[in-house]
Structures are given as C-alpha cells and as structure tokens.
C-alpha cells in the first residue's frame, strides 16, 4: 500500500513544491476553486464519508457545515499537528516529507468553510517539521496558492505555523485554541463549540493533519472513489503507526478496517525475536489494551469499539510476553499524570493517586484492596473529568485489570513480578 497519503514520502526532494507539482499537485485545488462552490466542496467531503483521523472520528464534512453556517466572521481553520498521543507518529511523515499535500488539503478546506486563515498548531518538539512546513508555505505563497486572490478567484487565505511548547492536552481542540491564544493550554467549557465560538471567539474548524491530507485526493478522485475503500461507515485510507515488539515497526498506510492481525503479522513482520504476543494497544495510550484473542479485529472505529477498545489515532503498540502489564500501566499513568492540565480535580488528583498506587504495587508493596481502590478511583473519574484526557487516562488501568488481573495479584500477593524476563525487573 502506501499509495495515497504516503506515496510521495520516499521521493527525492519530496518537500519541494516542484516535485509535488510535477505529480499533479495543486491541480485538485485548482479544480475545487474553479469547478466547485465552497458548499459543493463540503458536500463532496460529506459524501465521501471522511471521518476525522485525530482520534474521535467525527464526520469532517459535518463539522465544516456547522462552521460554514455560522455567519460570524472571520472563520478560522486550525490544523491539529500536535501529535502527542503516545505511540502515534503518523502525521510526522506527512509534515516532514510531503508538506504540500497537507497545505493543499488545508487550502481546499479553508475554501470550503470560508476561512480567512489557517494556523497549523504543531507540537513544539517537531522543530524539523515546523521548518519544513514554513519553507513549503513560503513556496506556496510564491506560486500564488496562498495569499490574496488565490488562482485568480475571490478567495484570500493565509496559512501560518504556530508551535506548541510541550503539553499533550493541547491536542484537545479547545485546549489547542487556548494555547494558540497564548494561554495555559486548558480545555474550555463546551458548549459553545469551536465551530461557533472558537479561536478569538470566531467560528473555527479543527482538523487533524491526516484528515486534511485526505482532502485533495477526495477532490481529485471524487467521493465515490473514497467511499469505495473500506467499511461503509468509515471509508478511506488510514495510516497506522506500529511500534513496540514487532520486527518492522513503522507507518503503514492501508485501507480503513485492515485487520489488526494483518497489521502486526503481515505488514509489521510479526513479533520480534519470535516471542509470543501478550497485549496490544490499538489506538494510542488512551485506548484500552487488547489481548491476543482480539487480534482478528478490523481496525476501524466500529469494529475496535465492539471488542472494547477504540481506534483512536490508529497507533498500535505491541507488547510481547516479556512485558509486565502492571509496569506498562504504571508507565502510561505516569504519562497522564504528567500531562494532566490541573484544572479539574478528578483528573489532577486521580491520575496522580493512581500512579502512587501503581508505584507501590510494582515495588511489591501493594495491598489486596488496591485493585478495588483503583477501580473505584477510575469509576470516580470516568465521565466526570473536564476533558477526555481523564477518560483516556483510566483506560490502561481498567483494561489491564480486566485482562491481566492475575499479574496485579502476583505483584500484590506474591510480591514479585509475574514476568521472568531480565529486563522486566524494572517493570518498565
């Protein structure tokens, strides 16, 4: 595969606009601007069935429609390039290797919703990527794809890169907006939703990099082409990032709904060193852990949901038999505690508390009540935190207790790590 979104990444000078143009780049933009009204672009994207690739899977055309319907102007488009979900690195190749694909998608999307400008909010650590984008944007301005009267049409549109500064939660839409406005990146109360009251209180659409990268292809090939790929409810190509204990970790662009088994064994070359598969996280750190028995699942929103996890960002983290699941859970919870913004008490205190309990258990100082206590803490967090970060944070705990309770019990009761491989002495 790798023939739509990632098809350019191995080309020479792939970031150069000339390379991109040679392959028919910016033709879809021309087509959109010349042949379609903004409303028609929205309709096409709606018809294609494109759903957001940032994690929540919201229908992209719908989101655009809401924003476009709001008469308040100027409207803004924000490209979410915060890519912070552990395990996820799918947006990076697009940003670093094929920036024009993203830029073209952004311009078409901006045209569709009638946006005055787009800000690409890129995580601060992607210094290289930000640089690539800056240069590519400058090229696009030069060619007249950005700026005033784009392609001679009555369409002005600006594009800027804005760097985050190290905060996972800024990937959440409203936290991203706050951060862009120069504040502590903490989520806002919803409603009002960003499509109506977003950045600088103007209607705002926020889309993930991969989502926007799809747009030019949809315009080029038509909605039916897009819809023909993968499941009815969630069609199109999808970049899966695979990491952990596999032979060939990496990004694989496949059709939505490719089975987890194929992803691990067919594409990623199976488990490293011939070891046994123990657990998989299918969609980034905030999605529940799956067991080998779930491996047949198709990787689309509905199917992964049906086996008790989530597609999330499509970041697959594979763990072999040498891994202590209590340690894994502790490792992930430390992340969430570190990233909790501190605004709401259940997330701020809950994540911190869970880490402390997990620390104890991993150090073989756990108590029998600890499992129930953790379950209860999770229950007190579930659905009660200010933003979804808190809900994501409890998933590792709940799913590992569900699937690997025995490992907790061994740590607690036998005061030892259930896994007998040397490096597990750290329990991660």
């Amino acid at each position: 595969m790798n023939d739509i979104l990632l098809k350019n990444i191995n080309k020479q000078n792939s970031t150069d606009i000339e390379t991109y143009l040679k392959d028919g780049g910016y033709k879809p933009l021309e087509k959109a601007l010349k042949e379609y009204t903004p409303k028609e672009v929205i309709d096409i994207v709606q018809k294609s069935g494109l759903r957001g690739r940032g994690g929540a899977g919201f229908p992209t055309g719908k989101k655009w429609e809401f924003a476009a319907a709001d008469k308040n102007t100027p409207r803004y488009l924000l490209c979410n390039a915060d890519e912070g979900e552990p395990g996820t690195y799918k947006d990076r190749p697009i940003i670093e290797k094929d920036p024009h694909q993203l830029i073209e998608g952004i311009i078409i999307s901006g045209y569709a919703i009638g946006a005055a400008a787009c800000y690409i909010y890129i995580r601060g650590e992607y210094v290289y990527g930000a640089d690539v984008l800056q240069k590519a944007i400058a090229q696009a301005y030069k060619k007249g794809f950005l700026g005033k009267k784009i392609l001679g049409k009555k369409f002005d549109f600006d594009l800027y890169v804005h760097k985050g500064a190290g905060a996972y939660v800024c990937g959440e839409e409203t936290a991203l907006i706050e951060s862009l406005e120069g504040k502590r990146g903490q989520s806002r109360i919803k409603p009002p939703f960003p499509v109506n009251v977003g950045v600088w209180n103007k209607p705002t659409v926020i889309n993930n990099v991969e989502t926007l990268a799809n747009v030019s292809h949809i315009i080029k090939n038509g909605p039916d082409w897009f819809k023909s790929m993968g499941p009815e409810k969630c069609p199109g190509p999808k970049i899966y990032s695979i990491s952990g204990h596999v032979n060939k970790p990496g990004n694989y662009e496949l059709i939505m709904g490719t089975s987890l088994k194929d992803l691990i064994y067919k594409y990623a070359g199976g488990i490293k060193d011939g070891k046994k598969l123990k657990a998989v996280i299918p969609g980034g750190a905030s999605t529940p852990v799956l067991k080998p028995e779930h491996i047949e699942v198709n990787m689309d929103y509905e199917s992964v949901g049906a086996v008790g996890s989530m597609l999330g960002s499509g970041a697959i983290m594979v763990m072999d038999e040498t891994v202590c699941m209590v340690g894994v859970t502790r490792r992930l919870l430390k992340f969430f505690a570190h990233e909790s913004c501190g605004k709401c008490s259940p997330c701020r205190e809950g994540t911190h508390w869970l880490v402390q309990i997990l620390d104890r258990i991993v150090n073989n100082e756990g108590k029998t009540e600890d499992i129930d206590l953790m379950l209860d803490i999770c229950d007190n967090m579930r659905g009660k935190t200010f933003c979804p970060l808190g809900d994501g944070a409890i998933n590792p705990v709940l799913s590992t207790i569900k699937h690997f309770r025995d490992e907790y019990l061994i740590h607690i009761e036998e005061k030892r790590c259930p896994v007998n491989y040397p490096h597990s002495e750290y329990c991660l």
């Binding site: 905060a167 502590r184 109360i189 505690a337 570190h338 990233e339 909790s340 913004c341 501190g342 605004k343 709401c344 008490s345 259940p346 701020r348 205190e349 809950g350 994540t351 911190h352 508390w353 402390q356 309990i357 104890r360 206590l373 209860d376 229950d379 007190n380 659905g383 009660k384 935190t385 200010f386």
Partner: protein, 871 residues
C-alpha cells in the same frame, strides 16, 4: 423564561441562566466549590455534577445553561457517589488541620465534606509536610490547603482587573501565587483573593487567630475612607473590630473593596484613640468629665459672643462625619452660635466641582452614578489617578473598558487605569485648562457638537467658539504636550458617545481655577449633548467619604442644607421656617477667610471637628501662624493630633464603627451606617456632642437618636426641593460673553529657575485621609512615603533607588526616600500626602481660589539633590 424540570419539580428560570443558579432559585441545593456567582463559569471541581436527561454523562451544573424542557436530577445514588468521589479528590492531600486553620467554621470544603463526604481518608500515601508562607505583610498562603478552584486567580483578573495572581506549573504541581510564585503579593491588596478563597489557603494576617467566625457579630455599614461609599460588614467581638467582610452582590462595590476598606479598619481600636475629654491647664492637656469640658466650651463661646459677637466664632468639620453630625454641626453654628462661619474639608477642592455643577445643573441629583460609569460607552477621565484615589470607581472604569467602552485618560503622570485606555494622554502639570479648552475647541471647530443642542444653544456655542478661537492648537500642544491630532481624536470619541461620562479628580478640583475648569468640563458636556439624559453625565471624585454630605448638609458659608443659597433671603426663609428660628443673614467665612480672620483678630474661637490644620498646613504659612493666635480652640477628634496639642479643649469623638447615621457618596447616594461596637472609651458620636453643647448654649437641640436627625434632614431637603426651579442649564447658557471669557481665563505657572521641579502632593492607594495611618494593614504595606521621580531626572541628579533626596525651596528643606519610576514625567515629582513625617507639606505654599475660596497646598516648586548621609 424557560421551563425545566429539576427533581420532578417544574422550575421557571431565565433562558441561559446557569443551572446552579436556577436550582438555587427553586430552593434546590447543588453543592459547588469552584463556582462563584461573581465569576465566569469554570467547572474545575466537578462537585456540582448532575444528571441531565439525554446527556450521556453527568454534567456540571455550574457550567450548564438552562433551556426549555431540560430534565435534571440532582439527587440519586449515582450523584451522591460522584460528589463523594469529587470531594475525596479535592481532599487527597489536603491537610486535616481544621482545628488550627483560620478558615474553620466558614470553610466551604469543611461544610461540603460534612454534608456529602466520606468519613475517612483512603489516600494512604505519604502527605508532604505543609508549610505556611507568612512572608507577605497581609496575606498568609498555605498551598497544601488550596483546592485549585482558582477563584482567587479569577477574581483578581475578571473582577479586579489586576491579574496579579496566576496559576503556575501544571497538573498536580499546580500552585497559585503572584509572579514567580513569590511570597510577597506586591499588588493592590484589595483582599478579594482572601475573601473569595473557599478554604484556608489564603488568609488575612490581621484576622489570624482572632476568633472563630461564629463568635463574631456582623454589622452592615459603609466604609469611611473615600467617596465611593462601599458597603461592607464589620465583624466585631467584645468591642473589637476584627475584620471587614463583604457580600458580593451588595452595595455600589458589589463585594469588592480596596485595601483601605478591607484592611484599614484597625484605627477604630487603636490604642492611641482619645478616650476622655481633655482640658488645658497651664500648658498640659488633662482628662476631665464631659460635663466640665462642655461647660467650659459653652462658657467661653458665650463670653466671646458677648464681647465680639457670634461671628468671632468659626467652625470647620471633616468630611468623614455623618450627615447627621454635619447637619447638626451647622445647625449648631447657625442657630446656637449664630454665625455662618462654617466650613468643611470640601473647601480643599471638592467644593469647586460641586459649585460648578450646582451652577450649571442646579440642585437636583445631578451626577453620574457609578453604574453610569460601568455602563458608559465612552469615558473621559481627567486628572484622577482613579484606581488609587477611588479604587472602586476605578474598578467600574476598568470594567467598562474591558467591556469595550472607549476610555480616554488624561493625567500628568502615567496612571494605572491607562492600561485599559484607548488613549493615554500625559499632559504637562498645570496645563489642564489648556487641555480642556483644546477639547472644547476641537468639538466646536470640527463640528463634533450635538446638532440638536446647537439649535437650542446656538448663541452659547457661538460665544464659546469666539472665545476658543484665539487659542491655537499649536499653543495647546506647547503647553500641554498633547498634539492637535490627539486632542481631536479624544474630542471626537467623546462627542460620539451615546453614554459619555466625564470623570475628573483632584488634578482638576484641587488646583488653581478648579471651579472654572469644572465649568469648562460642563460646557463640554453641554455642547456634546452628554448631559442630563440618562447615563451620561459628569462625576467629580471626592476622596473623603462624606464631602458630598458636608456640602449638602450645609457645612459651608455659601450653602444651606439641600444646597440652598445661604446668601439668598428666600432660601434662608425656607429653612428658617422648618427650624423655627432665623438663620443669620451675615455672610459667613470660608476656611481661608476664617484663618485670615484669626490673623486679623476678628475670629477669636475656632471649633474644629476631625480636621488637623496644624498637621496639614505648611508650617511657614500664615494659616499655621493663625492657629497659634486663637483665644480659644476646641478640637474634636478620634486621635490626639498636632492641632489637639494647641487646643484648649479636646473632645473624644466616636468613629464610624461606633455610630449610626448616613454617609452620602460621590454619586449623591445616602447610605446608612450602623454602630458595630459601643463608643470606644468615653468617646461620643459627634452629633451627641453638638446636642449637649447646644443645650448648654441655651438652644437645646434634642434628638433621641441619629434617625431622628435624619427625619429632620429629610424634611428640610424636601422643603428645598419644593422650591421649584427653572431649568438651570437654560439659565446657565445665557452666561454673558464677558463672564464666559472669565471662565476661560488661563493662568500660566512657571517654575522659578532656582526651583525647577514641580512637586505634587496627593493621595495614594494604600492610604486615605487621616485614619489609614492609624491602621495596621495600610501601614504594613506602605509604612512611609517615597518621592516618585522620573529615571532621567534621577540619573541627572545621580540618584539611585534607595537613595534619599533633598528637596529644597524658600520654605525649607526635607529629606525623602525616592522611588524611581517612568510613570512620572520629567520635571514632576510626587509625594503621598498622608505622611506627617517627613513634613514635605512644609514646602508648599497656600493658593486660594478666586471664585470659591478653595485653598490648595498640594504643590510647590523645588530644587532636588541627592542627599549624602553623614557618617
């Protein structure tokens, strides 16, 4: 209005109201912690979770707005568990130190846990030892008790507009504090953060360990500091005022206070208070009984009247007294003594504004209210330094500006409110009149005036045009430092206002020609149509809380109660009728005339209430000299002042905390105060003293209580109002060209070559009048004055921060500590007027206004050099 169902009960509420508030209205309690009605919704503590039908998750009631057909459940096992859970999170490592926590008994968390929480702590990890940060002079901070509700941070930003506090760090490391997390708040010390903190994380040092909240008595009253007239409650115990608290929806201040109001109460119980009458035997003041003291006074007064006539006696009263006190005082002077020689602190400048307003608008309630300020669309603020002098009025301006109102600030220095201004015009000191005339000129010449008004007042506006014609924008710029463009921009913005308000302060009123300047500002209102219609008007600020009352009650030789004209027989008749005794017709003397009279030997006796001329007049002035010349001086005060030392009899008065009555704030709003404690020592409310004296003078004025006086005042004022008056403005615009020309005269002041710096004395945020210096709070924050000086000036003089400067002029020299700040323009110096020592006031000269006889001694020309301390 929408209809929704809460717990099966149909509830009606305004559309868009927060669910917490709608529930409260319906008598249903939803627990909250981070929510505060004064603040924007936040949704951090998650305590207010409720179930709303059709929503997948529990929702926070404090962020949810009601809509039609909403179905809400606030009580269920699920919700009870959620609440318990949220409380547990808040409490994870909150110290359980309630017995020694100052918040105990009024801690929102304590109450919530008692009601909804669980009985024990499941959090079994080590809890860090907690530390109280006690380095700030007023506010103790104990971060382990902090529940991260950010109410403090939010009130500091959203309500106070100060944004001094912030949350810093992230997640469970989040803390709150000022810049860099420092332990000194170094802010305006309004105390809102302390007041709003639901737990014991931020507490007042002054109240610490004084009492549990249920042991105190709460008395609603009005602040005694400035003319804003803020409402608050005094909490007292056994005769001690322990703290000041507010209710967020009450009063003009809506719960906000400035540092003086919040922390400036302890003068009431200051050990230095006068507690018994004193009489001078030989050269010493000795305690005596009230009976003897009043006997002596009555005797001496009677003798003086006998020998020299009633006009040999004069009285001066402070603007800190109640209306009842002041009313009775002037009645005492006019009837029991028989003289119009009465004046008040309003003569220091406020009288200028009020005389001008009365002249132009008449005797109706004429001023803009603080609400008008908050709702204005354009505010022109001239020479006010409002956030320091009248902080709550300043808050209204901030609020208006934050809401989008155009704020134009003109001042001789860069003031704090300018942060919110669209135009910040720094005008040269002494050029205020040029600036105002520039505005009038711009309005007329650029055609910004109200076209409808022009039809009515054509002649007036044409006359004005003639008068300002001679003044060129070039000259204006030379004098003021403000360009033609800026003046026109300001004039344009103000003329376009739908609800334009002009605010002016001491820089106008307490300056040469303050009366004329006030008139000029009123002209500006008239020609732009910003007068007389709702929400547009003019507001002179006053820095003593009841200066308005002092004038309205008639403590001025030219005014009778209700602003009636003491010089008009008809007006005197109105009041004489009610008093059933003739008011003396002889014109009374104003404050400067009184002191002149003393020097000339015409005035023999002076009765001073709450003022301290010996401590505030420049020592080299004739006025100061006059004080030594009196035959008989009576001083009635809270504290033994420098003037008391010269007195023959000293009478201990009760403070605002010990008496009933009313104060009238600068909006003209009379508000009740109530005694919170019994009079300290043997002191008495002022009105009782006048009452007792009047009896001994043979004209008994007997009242059961302050309320009875108020009834009489009401009657008098009603009598005045029935007088009937044509439209004052109609009369005013008939002003002759000659008179108009006089109103637009400009006097230039030039610094003598030897004394090139202009020194100004004025009020500052942390002090006000004479009382704050006796209060622990203000003194802790600002124990001494500092001379503000521009960095370039300081550089030239070789002065660095922390140095002392020597100020010199013909009147003497003083050494002062300096504060170098680029807020001061070059050539201008500022020193707070509240500090007795060093006696910077001694450098000033006294200026007397030609029109109103207002006396000013707030500026001087001086030379400055670095003071080199001797070793």
């Amino acid at each position: 209005m929408v209809k929704l169902t809460i717990n099966n009960k149909i509830v009606e509420a305004p559309d868009g109201m927060l669910l917490t508030e709608a529930a409260k209205m319906a008598g249903i309690e939803i627990p909250t912690l981070c929510y505060h009605p004064e603040l924007q919704p936040y949704g951090g503590c998650r305590l207010c979770l409720v179930r709303i039908e059709k929503m997948p998750k529990l929702q926070t009631a404090c962020t949810t707005r009601v809509c039609d057909n909403m179905v809400v459940t606030t009580e269920s096992p699920e919700i009870a568990k959620a609440r318990k859970g949220m409380l547990e999170f808040v409490l994870t490592y909150h110290p359980l130190d309630c017995p020694i926590c100052d918040k105990g008994g009024e801690c929102e968390l304590q109450n919530l846990v008692f009601k909804f929480g669980s009985g024990f702590r499941r959090y079994a990890e080590d809890i860090e030892e907690y530390t109280i940060d006690t380095n700030d002079p007023l506010i103790d901070r104990e971060l382990d008790r902090c529940v991260r509700c950010l109410r403090c941070v939010r009130v500091c930003d959203e309500v106070q507009g100060v944004t001094n506090l912030t949350a810093y760090n992230r997640g469970s490391h989040t803390e709150i504090g000022p810049f860099m997390g420092g332990s000194i708040f170094d802010c305006e010390y309004c105390g809102s953060c302390v007041a709003i903190c639901p737990v014991g994380a931020l507490t007042s040092k002054l109240f610490k360990y004084k009492a549990r909240p249920w042991q105190t008595k709460r008395t609603d009253t009005i602040c005694t500091y400035c003319g804003c007239g803020c409402q608050f409650a005094l909490e007292t115990r056994d005769g001690d005022v322990l703290r000041v608290v507010t209710d967020y929806e009450k009063g003009v201040n809506e719960g906000s206070l400035c540092t003086r109001g919040r922390f400036g109460y302890s003068f009431v119980n200051n050990k230095k208070r006068l507690t018994a009458p004193l009489i001078k035997t030989n050269t010493k003041l000795e305690p005596t009984s009230w009976d003897e003291a009043t006997d002596i006074i009555a005797d001496r007064f009677k003798k003086i009247i006998e020998n020299n006539g009633p006009d040999a006696i004069a009285g001066i009263i402070t603007g800190h007294c109640t209306n009842e006190d002041i009313y009775l005082f002037q009645k005492f002077m006019r009837l029991a003594i028989g003289t119009n020689n009465i004046d008040s602190a309003a003569r220091f400048g406020y009288v200028n504004a009020m005389s001008a307003i009365k002249q132009v608008i008449g005797s109706k309630r004429f001023e803009a209210s603080l609400d008008d300020v908050a709702n204005a669309d354009v505010i022109l603020s001239i020479s006010t330094n409002i956030t320091e002098v009248n902080p709550i009025a300043g808050l209204k301006v901030r609020r208006a500006a934050k809401r989008g109102a155009v704020l134009i600030v003109a001042d001789v220095q860069d003031t704090d409110i300018a942060k919110f201004a669209s135009q910040n015009l720094i005008i040269k000191s002494g050029s205020e009149r040029w600036f105002i005339h520039g505005l009038v000129k711009a309005v007329i010449e650029k055609g910004f005036y109200d076209k409808k008004i022009y039809k009515d007042y054509k002649k007036f506006i044409d006359n004005l045009e003639n008068i300002v014609k001679g003044l060129s924008f070039k000259e204006i710029e030379e004098k003021t430092g403000i360009s033609e463009k800026d003046i026109i921009e300001a004039a344009k913005a103000y003329s376009k206002a739908k609800k334009g308000v002009i605010i002016f302060g001491q820089g106008i009123t307490h300056q040469q020609d303050g009366y004329k300047s006030s008139l000029n500002l009123l002209d500006l209102c008239i020609i732009t149509g910003n007068i007389d219609s709702k929400g547009t008007a003019i507001l002179p600020l006053c820095d003593e809380n009841n200066e308005y009352g002092a004038l309205e009650m008639g403590a001025a030789p030219e005014f009778l109660s209700g602003f009636l004209n003491a010089g008009a027989a008809k007006d005197r008749e109105i009041i004489s009728k009610i008093w059933d005794k003739k008011i003396p017709a002889k014109k009374g003397l104003t404050m400067p005339e009184i002191f002149n009279g003393i020097l000339k030997g015409k005035i023999k006796a002076l009765y001073i209430i709450g003022e301290n001329p010996a401590g505030t007049f420049p020592q080299k002035s004739e006025f100061y000299e006059a004080l030594q010349k009196l035959d008989f001086l009576v001083c009635q005060d809270l504290f033994p002042t420098a003037t008391c030392e010269l007195a023959d009899v000293v009478l201990p008065a009760s403070s605002f905390a010990e008496k009933d009555g009313t104060f009238t704030n600068m909006e003209g709003r009379a508000q009740k105060i109530e005694a919170a404690i019994n009079p300290v020592g043997d002191s008495r409310p002022d009105w009782q003293i006048f009452s007792a004296l009047s009896e001994k003078m043979g004209y008994p004025m007997d009242y059961d209580n302050a309320d009875a006086i108020l009834k009489e005042i009401a009657q008098v004022i009603e009598g005045c109002n029935s007088k009937g008056e044509g439209s004052a403005i109609e009369n005013y615009v008939k002003t002759s060209v000659k008179e108009l020309r006089a109103i637009y005269e400009r006097k230039e002041e030039k610094a003598p070559a030897k004394f090139p710096f202009k020194l100004m004395l004025g009020p500052v945020l942390f002090h006000s009048g004479k009382l704050s210096g006796y209060s622990e709070g203000p003194v802790r924050i600002l124990p001494e004055g500092r001379l503000k000086i521009n960095p370039n000036d300081a550089d030239r003089l070789g002065i660095i921060e922390g140095d002392k400067a020597l100020l010199k002029n013909a009147n003497g020299e003083v050494k002062v500590k300096v504060e170098i700040t680029d807020r001061m323009p070059e050539g201008l110096l500022f020193y707070p007027e509240h500090f007795m020592y060093p006696a910077v006031r001694n450098l000033c000269k006294i200026d007397i206004d030609k029109d109103t006889k207002a006396n000013y001694f707030k500026s001087a020309f001086v030379a400055v050099e670095r003071h080199v301390p001797e070793h």
